[in-house]
C-alpha cells in the first residue's frame, strides 16, 4: 500500500486502541504484573494475546510494554545491546505508531526500555522500567522436563537440582559452563531465569533502582524484580560466580569495562571487538 497510514487525533494510528492492546487485556496483564511484583521472581501465568509479530520476536515483552506505557513515556528498544537492529527498529516503530510515544536511543532519556539479551551499560535509575523479552521463563526446564514438577519445586523452594548442574559443570570442566541465562535467586526465595542476557549482566540486576519486568509470550508467563531487590547468581563459596567478558577493549571507544561483541571485519579472518551497547559506545566517543 502506498497511502500513509491514517493518524488519529492523539497521534496514534486510527482504528487501534492506545498501545494496540484493548483495555481489558491491558488490565489483565497489569493484574499479573502486580502479582509478579508482589512475589519477586515468581512466574505468573497470563492470557497471552496474538500479536502482529511471530513468537520469538518479543511478543511477551511487547505485551508488557503495551500494558505499562503511557502517552508521556519515552521508549527505547534494544536487541543484543543495539538500537538499530531490525527487531529493535520494528518494535520501536510499532509503539511510535500505536501509542504515539516519543522514542530515544539514549538510555538516560528513556522511561521504558524493552530489551532482548542485554542490560544497558549506563546504570538505570529509579522511575525507569526495564522490560525483558523472554523465550523460556523456566530456569529448571533442561533439568526437569515435567512442568507440574517444576512448579512443585518452586513452591517448595527445592533447588538442589540446579546446584547439581553447577556441581557437575565444575567436576567435569573446572568451572560453571553457563555464559548466558545464568540462573539467579531472587530475594532469597525464587530461582529465576534472567532471560538470555550474558552472565556479565547478572550483577546489574542486583538491587537495581529500576523496575524489571519479564514477559514470555509463547510460554504465557510474566515475572518481575521490584526496585532494590536482591538478585544473586547461584554459585559455591569456593567457586564464586564470575561474570565473563572478552579480555579486550572496544575498537571504537576503547572501553575495557563493557560487554564486547566480536565482529568479523573482512573475509581474511580479520576481527575486532566492539561494545555491544551501541548507545553507551557512541556517548563515550562523543564525550572525548
Amino acid at each position: 500500500m502506498s497511502a500513509a497510514p491514517e493518524v488519529a487525533s492523539g497521534g496514534t494510528l486510527a482504528g487501534y486502541n492506545f498501545a494496540y492492546l484493548d483495555e481489558d487485556t491491558k488490565r489483565m496483564i497489569r493484574r499479573a504484573l502486580l502479582k509478579a511484583v508482589a512475589v519477586p521472581g515468581h512466574q505468573v501465568p497470563f492470557g497471552s494475546r496474538e500479536m502482529p509479530l511471530p513468537y520469538g520476536w518479543g511478543t511477551g515483552g511487547i505485551q508488557v510494554t503495551a500494558s505499562v506505557i503511557g502517552p508521556d513515556d519515552t521508549l527505547k528498544v534494544i536487541d543484543q545491546g543495539a538500537d538499530d537492529t531490525t527487531n529493535a527498529v520494528s518494535i520501536r516503530r510499532f509503539f511510535a505508531r500505536v501509542a504515539g510515544v516519543a522514542t530515544t536511543e539514549r538510555t538516560a532519556d528513556a522511561t521504558v526500555i524493552q530489551t532482548r539479551h542485554r542490560i544497558p551499560e549506563t546504570p538505570l535509575r529509579e522511575g525507569q522500567i526495564l522490560v525483558y523479552q523472554v523465550p523460556m521463563p523456566e530456569p529448571l526446564f533442561r533439568l526437569e522436563p515435567r512442568v507440574a514438577e517444576t512448579r512443585r519445586l518452586h513452591a517448595l523452594g527445592d533447588y538442589g537440582l540446579m546446584h547439581v548442574k553447577l556441581y557437575e559443570d565444575i567436576a567435569r570442566r573446572g568451572e560453571v559452563e553457563i555464559s548466558y541465562n545464568y540462573p539467579v535467586m531472587v530475594n532469597g526465595r525464587y530461582l529465576m531465569s534472567p532471560s538470555p542476557i550474558p552472565a556479565f549482566d547478572n550483577p546489574k540486576m542486583d538491587r537495581m533502582p529500576a523496575l524489571q519486568l519479564f514477559g514470555a509470550g509463547r510460554e504465557k508467563r510474566i515475572y518481575a524484580v521490584p526496585p532494590y531487590t536482591s538478585v544473586r547468581s547461584l554459585d559455591f563459596e569456593d567457586h564464586p560466580f564470575r561474570p565473563g567478558r572478552a579480555d579486550a577493549s572496544c575498537a571504537l571507544c576503547g572501553s575495557r569495562e563493557t560487554y564486547l561483541d566480536e565482529v568479523v571485519t573482512d573475509d581474511r579472518g580479520g576481527r575486532r571487538f566492539l561494545c555491544s551497547d551501541t548507545d553507551y559506545c557512541a556517548e563515550r566517543r562523543a564525550d572525548r
Binding site: 517448595l156 538442589g160 546446584h163 556441581y167 557437575e168 565444575i170 567436576a171 569456593d238
Partner: protein
C-alpha cells in the same frame, strides 16, 4: 533406644477394588531399631511401606512421625511441603531398583552431593570431600567419583544409592527389597555393609523383604504379613525360632526345607 516411638501407625486400611492390601494394621518403630516387614508376594508389604512413608494415603487409619525436634507429625495430614522436607532431611529411601533412586546421568559424586546441596551445602570442596568419604564407606573407589552410575554394576549402583541416602544422616530409612535384584554373592556383601552402616549410624530402618535370611541378618524385630494383615510380630529370633502363627511356621519351615 529411647522410649518414644519414631513412627507410629494404627488402624490402617487400604483397598484396591476387592483386594484388602492393608487390613487393620498397626505398627511402631523406635529410634535406632531395624524392623523387617516379612511376607510372601502380594501380602501388602510395599503397600504398608508406602502408607507409612506418606506416599499413598490409607482409606482409614493414622501415621505419626516424631521428628528430630520431638514434634509429632501426622504424616497424612502434614501436607506435601512438610513431607518433602522430611524426605530430604530426616528420611531416606532405598529402592529395590537403583534406577529409581539414582540420577543415572549425573556423576557418582553429584548423586551423593545432591542431598547435601538440597539441605544447603554450598562449598564445592566440602561436598566433594563428603562424597569421597561416603563412596569409600560403601566400598566404591573414590577415583570413580566423576563417573556416571549408568556404567556401574548393579551391586555398585545399589551401594551408591545407599551412600546418597545416608550422606545427610537421616533418622529413618525406608528400604523395599534393597538386595532383591542382585546375585546371591553380591547380596551377602551388601547385607553386611547395610548392617554395619545401620549399626554405626544408629538408624531406624523399615525394611521390606520376602527373604527370611535377610530379615534374620538385619532386623531386630519382625512384622509378618499375610493378605494385608499382621499375623505375628516380635523380636526376630523369637519369631523365627519359635513361630506362633501357623502361617509363620509355614514360612519358616519352607526355608528349612529348602
Amino acid at each position: 533406644m529411647s522410649d518414644a516411638p519414631i513412627l507410629e501407625a494404627s488402624g490402617l486400611h487400604l483397598r484396591f477394588g476387592s483386594v484388602a492390601a492393608l487390613d487393620e494394621v498397626a505398627l511402631r518403630v523406635w529410634p535406632g531399631e531395624v524392623v523387617a516387614i516379612l511376607g510372601e508376594s502380594g501380602s501388602g508389604k510395599t503397600s504398608l511401606l508406602r502408607v507409612l512413608s506418606g506416599t499413598v494415603a490409607p482409606d482409614a487409619g493414622e501415621v505419626f512421625y516424631r521428628d528430630a525436634a520431638g514434634v509429632l507429625v501426622p504424616v497424612h495430614v502434614a501436607g506435601e511441603a512438610a513431607l518433602r522436607r522430611l524426605a530430604r532431611t530426616e528420611w531416606g529411601f532405598v529402592h529395590q531398583n537403583p534406577r529409581d533412586g539414582l540420577r543415572l546421568g549425573v556423576s557418582a559424586g553429584g548423586n551423593v552431593g545432591e542431598r547435601l546441596m538440597a539441605v544447603g551445602a554450598r562449598h564445592y570442596g566440602g561436598i566433594r570431600a563428603a562424597a569421597a568419604e561416603w563412596l569409600r564407606r560403601v566400598e566404591i573407589d573414590p577415583a570413580r567419583m566423576d563417573d556416571l552410575p549408568r556404567d556401574f554394576s548393579g551391586g555398585m549402583q545399589q551401594r551408591l544409592q545407599i551412600a546418597r541416602t545416608l550422606v545427610t544422616r537421616p533418622r529413618l530409612v525406608f528400604m523395599d527389597e534393597p538386595t532383591g535384584g542382585l546375585d546371591v554373592s553380591v547380596q551377602a556383601r551388601l547385607l553386611d555393609l547395610i548392617r554395619a552402616l545401620v549399626a554405626d549410624l544408629g538408624l531406624a530402618v523399615l525394611l521390606v523383604t520376602h527373604d527370611i535370611a535377610v530379615a534374620r541378618l538385619l532386623a531386630h524385630r519382625l512384622v509378618v504379613m499375610r493378605r494385608g494383615r499382621v499375623v505375628e510380630h516380635g523380636l526376630t529370633d523369637r519369631v523365627l525360632d519359635d513361630p506362633q502363627h501357623e502361617y509363620t511356621q509355614l514360612l519358616v519351615s519352607s526355608v528349612l526345607a529348602a
